[in-house]
Amino acid sequence: MIKRIIAFHLVAAAALLLWGIVDGRVPPGSLGGVGRDYVERTPGELGAANVVTGIVVTWRGLDTLGEVTVLFLAAAGVALVLRRREGAAENAAAPEAPRRDSSEILETGSAFLVPAIVMFGVYIFLNGHLTPGGGFQGGAVVASAVLLLFLVHPGYRTAHRALEAVESVSGALYVAAGLLGLLLAGGFLDNRFLPPGVFGTILSAGAIPVIYTLIGLKVGAELAGILDSLRGGGE
Protein backbone atom coordinates (compact mmCIF):
# COMPACT_ATOMS: atom_id res chain seq x y z
CA MET A 1 0.00 0.00 0.00
CA ILE A 2 2.78 2.42 0.94
CA LYS A 3 4.53 1.45 -2.28
CA ARG A 4 1.44 2.47 -4.25
CA ILE A 5 1.15 5.79 -2.46
CA ILE A 6 4.82 6.57 -3.16
CA ALA A 7 4.42 5.56 -6.79
CA PHE A 8 1.34 7.75 -7.16
CA HIS A 9 3.15 10.75 -5.68
CA LEU A 10 6.14 10.21 -7.98
CA VAL A 11 3.88 10.12 -11.05
CA ALA A 12 2.03 13.22 -9.85
CA ALA A 13 5.34 15.06 -9.31
CA ALA A 14 6.55 14.10 -12.78
CA ALA A 15 3.25 15.30 -14.28
CA LEU A 16 3.56 18.60 -12.43
CA LEU A 17 7.12 19.11 -13.71
CA LEU A 18 6.10 18.29 -17.29
CA TRP A 19 3.08 20.58 -17.05
CA GLY A 20 5.40 23.43 -16.15
CA ILE A 21 7.26 22.84 -19.42
CA VAL A 22 4.20 22.35 -21.65
CA ASP A 23 1.91 25.01 -20.16
CA GLY A 24 1.91 28.21 -22.17
CA ARG A 25 4.60 27.03 -24.56
CA VAL A 26 4.38 28.51 -28.06
CA PRO A 27 6.32 26.53 -30.70
CA PRO A 28 8.91 28.75 -32.43
CA GLY A 29 7.79 29.94 -35.84
CA SER A 30 11.21 29.65 -37.46
CA LEU A 31 14.28 27.48 -37.04
CA GLY A 32 17.11 28.81 -34.95
CA GLY A 33 20.71 27.97 -34.18
CA VAL A 34 22.04 24.54 -35.17
CA GLY A 35 18.77 23.53 -36.86
CA ARG A 36 18.84 26.41 -39.30
CA ASP A 37 22.51 25.79 -40.01
CA TYR A 38 21.80 22.13 -40.93
CA VAL A 39 18.83 23.02 -43.13
CA GLU A 40 20.79 25.70 -44.98
CA ARG A 41 23.96 23.69 -45.50
CA THR A 42 22.72 20.13 -46.19
CA PRO A 43 21.27 20.58 -49.74
CA GLY A 44 24.15 22.70 -51.00
CA GLU A 45 27.15 21.09 -49.37
CA LEU A 46 26.07 17.43 -49.25
CA GLY A 47 23.59 17.38 -52.15
CA ALA A 48 21.03 15.40 -50.07
CA ALA A 49 17.37 16.35 -50.55
CA ASN A 50 16.47 14.71 -47.20
CA VAL A 51 18.05 16.84 -44.48
CA VAL A 52 17.52 14.14 -41.83
CA THR A 53 19.64 11.73 -43.89
CA GLY A 54 22.32 14.39 -44.34
CA ILE A 55 22.52 14.73 -40.56
CA VAL A 56 22.34 11.01 -39.76
CA VAL A 57 24.85 9.79 -42.35
CA THR A 58 27.29 12.70 -42.63
CA TRP A 59 27.19 15.40 -39.94
CA ARG A 60 26.48 12.81 -37.25
CA GLY A 61 27.86 9.80 -39.16
CA LEU A 62 29.98 8.58 -36.26
CA ASP A 63 26.81 8.15 -34.14
CA THR A 64 25.31 5.97 -36.87
CA LEU A 65 28.46 3.85 -36.98
CA GLY A 66 28.13 3.43 -33.21
CA GLU A 67 24.47 2.39 -33.51
CA VAL A 68 25.34 -0.19 -36.15
CA THR A 69 28.07 -1.50 -33.83
CA VAL A 70 25.59 -1.80 -30.93
CA LEU A 71 23.21 -3.79 -33.14
CA PHE A 72 26.10 -6.00 -34.27
CA LEU A 73 27.05 -6.73 -30.66
CA ALA A 74 23.42 -7.53 -29.79
CA ALA A 75 23.17 -9.97 -32.71
CA ALA A 76 26.50 -11.55 -31.81
CA GLY A 77 25.41 -11.93 -28.17
CA VAL A 78 22.11 -13.60 -29.09
CA ALA A 79 23.90 -15.97 -31.45
CA LEU A 80 26.59 -16.78 -28.88
CA VAL A 81 24.14 -17.56 -26.06
CA LEU A 82 21.42 -19.36 -28.00
CA ARG A 83 23.21 -21.33 -30.70
CA ARG A 84 25.67 -23.03 -28.37
CA ARG A 85 22.91 -24.16 -26.00
CA GLU A 86 20.98 -25.43 -28.96
CA GLY A 87 23.90 -27.48 -30.24
CA ALA A 88 24.17 -29.15 -26.82
CA ALA A 89 20.42 -29.77 -26.66
CA GLU A 90 20.32 -31.23 -30.16
CA ASN A 91 22.92 -33.81 -29.26
CA ALA A 92 21.14 -34.85 -26.09
CA ALA A 93 17.41 -34.67 -26.90
CA ALA A 94 15.54 -36.85 -29.33
CA PRO A 95 14.19 -35.13 -32.48
CA GLU A 96 10.77 -33.59 -31.94
CA ALA A 97 7.69 -34.38 -33.97
CA PRO A 98 7.49 -32.46 -37.28
CA ARG A 99 5.22 -29.43 -37.21
CA ARG A 100 2.04 -29.05 -39.16
CA ASP A 101 2.44 -27.27 -42.51
CA SER A 102 0.84 -23.87 -43.06
CA SER A 103 -2.44 -23.54 -44.91
CA GLU A 104 -2.61 -23.04 -48.66
CA ILE A 105 -3.90 -19.46 -48.26
CA LEU A 106 -1.01 -18.48 -46.01
CA GLU A 107 1.60 -20.03 -48.30
CA THR A 108 0.22 -18.45 -51.48
CA GLY A 109 -0.27 -15.07 -49.80
CA SER A 110 3.25 -15.02 -48.45
CA ALA A 111 4.63 -16.02 -51.86
CA PHE A 112 3.01 -12.87 -53.25
CA LEU A 113 3.93 -10.62 -50.32
CA VAL A 114 7.54 -11.53 -49.53
CA PRO A 115 9.05 -10.23 -52.82
CA ALA A 116 6.98 -7.05 -52.55
CA ILE A 117 8.10 -6.43 -48.94
CA VAL A 118 11.77 -7.03 -49.82
CA MET A 119 11.46 -4.67 -52.78
CA PHE A 120 9.85 -1.99 -50.57
CA GLY A 121 12.68 -2.32 -48.04
CA VAL A 122 15.29 -1.95 -50.80
CA TYR A 123 13.37 1.07 -52.13
CA ILE A 124 13.45 2.67 -48.67
CA PHE A 125 17.21 2.39 -48.25
CA LEU A 126 18.08 3.24 -51.87
CA ASN A 127 15.99 6.43 -51.68
CA GLY A 128 17.19 7.36 -48.19
CA HIS A 129 18.77 10.59 -49.42
CA LEU A 130 15.58 11.68 -51.25
CA THR A 131 12.57 10.51 -49.21
CA PRO A 132 12.01 9.77 -45.51
CA GLY A 133 13.59 6.53 -44.39
CA GLY A 134 17.01 5.03 -44.80
CA GLY A 135 19.25 2.12 -43.97
CA PHE A 136 17.77 1.18 -40.60
CA GLN A 137 14.16 1.40 -41.75
CA GLY A 138 14.81 -0.45 -45.01
CA GLY A 139 16.80 -3.15 -43.24
CA ALA A 140 14.02 -3.65 -40.68
CA VAL A 141 11.43 -3.98 -43.47
CA VAL A 142 13.60 -6.59 -45.25
CA ALA A 143 13.95 -8.49 -41.96
CA SER A 144 10.16 -8.46 -41.53
CA ALA A 145 9.89 -10.24 -44.90
CA VAL A 146 12.24 -12.90 -43.55
CA LEU A 147 10.04 -13.08 -40.44
CA LEU A 148 7.01 -13.80 -42.66
CA LEU A 149 8.96 -16.65 -44.26
CA PHE A 150 9.76 -18.06 -40.79
CA LEU A 151 6.10 -17.87 -39.75
CA VAL A 152 4.79 -19.56 -42.89
CA HIS A 153 7.47 -22.24 -43.27
CA PRO A 154 8.35 -23.59 -39.81
CA GLY A 155 11.07 -25.82 -41.22
CA TYR A 156 12.69 -23.06 -43.28
CA ARG A 157 16.45 -22.88 -42.75
CA THR A 158 18.42 -19.73 -43.46
CA ALA A 159 21.93 -19.83 -44.81
CA HIS A 160 23.70 -18.67 -41.63
CA ARG A 161 27.01 -18.40 -43.40
CA ALA A 162 25.56 -16.15 -46.13
CA LEU A 163 23.88 -13.88 -43.54
CA GLU A 164 27.11 -13.59 -41.58
CA ALA A 165 29.09 -12.90 -44.77
CA VAL A 166 26.68 -10.12 -45.85
CA GLU A 167 26.81 -8.62 -42.36
CA SER A 168 30.62 -8.63 -42.05
CA VAL A 169 31.36 -7.48 -45.60
CA SER A 170 28.88 -4.58 -45.48
CA GLY A 171 30.11 -3.52 -42.03
CA ALA A 172 33.74 -3.54 -43.22
CA LEU A 173 32.83 -1.63 -46.39
CA TYR A 174 30.97 0.96 -44.29
CA VAL A 175 34.11 1.67 -42.30
CA ALA A 176 36.12 1.64 -45.55
CA ALA A 177 33.75 4.28 -47.00
CA GLY A 178 34.33 6.36 -43.87
CA LEU A 179 38.10 6.05 -44.31
CA LEU A 180 37.84 7.01 -48.00
CA GLY A 181 36.02 10.16 -46.88
CA LEU A 182 38.91 10.85 -44.49
CA LEU A 183 41.51 10.35 -47.24
CA LEU A 184 39.81 11.96 -50.24
CA ALA A 185 37.40 14.51 -48.73
CA GLY A 186 36.94 16.58 -45.59
CA GLY A 187 36.90 13.96 -42.84
CA PHE A 188 35.78 10.55 -41.56
CA LEU A 189 32.43 9.55 -43.20
CA ASP A 190 32.45 12.65 -45.44
CA ASN A 191 30.22 11.75 -48.40
CA ARG A 192 31.91 14.04 -50.92
CA PHE A 193 34.58 11.66 -52.15
CA LEU A 194 32.09 10.56 -54.84
CA PRO A 195 30.71 13.12 -57.34
CA PRO A 196 27.62 14.90 -55.96
CA GLY A 197 25.52 14.24 -59.09
CA VAL A 198 22.32 16.06 -60.00
CA PHE A 199 20.38 17.21 -56.92
CA GLY A 200 17.25 15.13 -56.36
CA THR A 201 18.14 12.15 -58.58
CA ILE A 202 18.88 8.65 -57.33
CA LEU A 203 22.62 8.87 -58.07
CA SER A 204 23.26 12.02 -56.09
CA ALA A 205 24.50 13.12 -52.66
CA GLY A 206 27.93 11.56 -53.11
CA ALA A 207 28.42 8.42 -51.03
CA ILE A 208 25.13 8.60 -49.07
CA PRO A 209 23.27 6.02 -51.25
CA VAL A 210 26.27 3.67 -51.06
CA ILE A 211 26.54 4.02 -47.27
CA TYR A 212 22.79 3.58 -46.77
CA THR A 213 22.75 0.49 -48.98
CA LEU A 214 25.52 -1.00 -46.85
CA ILE A 215 23.68 -0.08 -43.62
CA GLY A 216 20.44 -1.52 -45.01
CA LEU A 217 22.08 -4.83 -45.91
CA LYS A 218 23.87 -4.99 -42.55
CA VAL A 219 20.79 -4.19 -40.45
CA GLY A 220 18.59 -6.57 -42.48
CA ALA A 221 21.08 -9.44 -42.11
CA GLU A 222 21.54 -8.76 -38.39
CA LEU A 223 17.83 -8.61 -37.54
CA ALA A 224 17.17 -11.73 -39.65
CA GLY A 225 20.02 -13.45 -37.79
CA ILE A 226 18.59 -12.47 -34.38
CA LEU A 227 15.16 -13.80 -35.39
CA ASP A 228 16.68 -17.02 -36.69
CA SER A 229 18.73 -17.59 -33.53
CA LEU A 230 15.72 -16.95 -31.28
CA ARG A 231 13.43 -19.13 -33.35
CA GLY A 232 15.63 -22.13 -32.83
CA GLY A 233 16.22 -24.84 -35.40
CA GLY A 234 14.31 -28.01 -36.15
CA GLU A 235 11.57 -27.37 -33.60
Binding site: G134, A140, L147, L230
Partner: protein, 83 residues
Protein backbone atom coordinates in the same frame (compact mmCIF):
# COMPACT_ATOMS: atom_id res chain seq x y z
CA UNK B 1 -8.27 17.16 -36.04
CA UNK B 2 -4.55 16.61 -35.42
CA UNK B 3 -4.98 17.41 -31.73
CA UNK B 4 -7.81 14.86 -31.49
CA UNK B 5 -5.63 12.20 -33.16
CA UNK B 6 -2.74 12.96 -30.81
CA UNK B 7 -5.00 12.80 -27.74
CA UNK B 8 -6.67 9.54 -28.85
CA UNK B 9 -3.37 7.79 -29.63
CA UNK B 10 -1.90 9.05 -26.35
CA UNK B 11 -4.84 7.65 -24.39
CA UNK B 12 -4.62 4.30 -26.21
CA UNK B 13 -0.87 4.17 -25.53
CA UNK B 14 -1.30 4.79 -21.81
CA UNK B 15 -4.18 2.28 -21.64
CA UNK B 16 -2.23 -0.46 -23.42
CA UNK B 17 0.84 0.20 -21.26
CA UNK B 18 -1.30 -0.21 -18.13
CA UNK B 19 -2.85 -3.33 -19.66
CA UNK B 20 0.63 -4.75 -20.30
CA UNK B 21 1.47 -4.25 -16.61
CA UNK B 22 -1.73 -5.71 -15.19
CA UNK B 23 -2.64 -8.54 -17.58
CA UNK B 24 -2.06 -11.98 -16.06
CA UNK B 25 -1.38 -13.68 -19.40
CA UNK B 26 2.12 -12.94 -20.71
CA UNK B 27 1.09 -13.41 -24.34
CA UNK B 28 -1.67 -10.81 -23.91
CA UNK B 29 0.83 -8.45 -22.25
CA UNK B 30 3.23 -8.82 -25.21
CA UNK B 31 0.40 -8.02 -27.63
CA UNK B 32 -0.48 -4.96 -25.51
CA UNK B 33 3.12 -3.72 -25.75
CA UNK B 34 2.95 -4.20 -29.53
CA UNK B 35 -0.28 -2.19 -29.62
CA UNK B 36 1.43 0.61 -27.70
CA UNK B 37 4.25 0.66 -30.28
CA UNK B 38 1.74 0.75 -33.12
CA UNK B 39 0.01 3.82 -31.72
CA UNK B 40 3.38 5.41 -30.94
CA UNK B 41 4.21 5.05 -34.60
CA UNK B 42 0.90 6.71 -35.57
CA UNK B 43 1.79 9.52 -33.18
CA UNK B 44 5.23 9.97 -34.78
CA UNK B 45 3.59 10.13 -38.21
CA UNK B 46 1.13 12.79 -37.02
CA UNK B 47 4.01 14.78 -35.50
CA UNK B 48 5.74 14.84 -38.94
CA UNK B 49 8.50 12.30 -38.24
CA UNK B 50 7.79 9.64 -40.90
CA UNK B 51 11.20 7.98 -40.69
CA UNK B 52 10.92 7.46 -36.93
CA UNK B 53 7.37 6.16 -37.52
CA UNK B 54 8.72 3.60 -40.00
CA UNK B 55 11.32 2.37 -37.52
CA UNK B 56 8.78 2.18 -34.70
CA UNK B 57 6.26 0.26 -36.83
CA UNK B 58 8.79 -2.22 -38.24
CA UNK B 59 10.94 -2.79 -35.15
CA UNK B 60 8.71 -1.78 -32.22
CA UNK B 61 5.39 -3.18 -33.34
CA UNK B 62 6.61 -5.96 -35.63
CA UNK B 63 9.97 -7.53 -34.91
CA UNK B 64 10.28 -6.95 -31.15
CA UNK B 65 6.78 -8.35 -30.51
CA UNK B 66 7.75 -11.54 -32.32
CA UNK B 67 11.13 -11.62 -30.55
CA UNK B 68 9.31 -11.45 -27.19
CA UNK B 69 6.98 -14.26 -28.29
CA UNK B 70 9.91 -16.45 -29.39
CA UNK B 71 11.71 -15.74 -26.11
CA UNK B 72 8.56 -16.61 -24.14
CA UNK B 73 8.22 -19.91 -25.99
CA UNK B 74 11.86 -20.78 -25.40
CA UNK B 75 11.71 -20.05 -21.67
CA UNK B 76 8.57 -22.18 -21.39
CA UNK B 77 10.42 -24.98 -23.14
CA UNK B 78 13.18 -24.79 -20.51
CA UNK B 79 10.66 -24.92 -17.67
CA UNK B 80 9.02 -27.96 -19.20
CA UNK B 81 12.42 -29.64 -19.51
CA UNK B 82 13.23 -29.04 -15.86
CA UNK B 83 9.98 -30.51 -14.54
Amino acid sequence: MITALVVVSGIVMVASALAAMHLRSLVAAIVAVGLMSLFASVLYLVLAAPDVAMTEAAIGAGLSTVIFLYALRRTRDREADDD
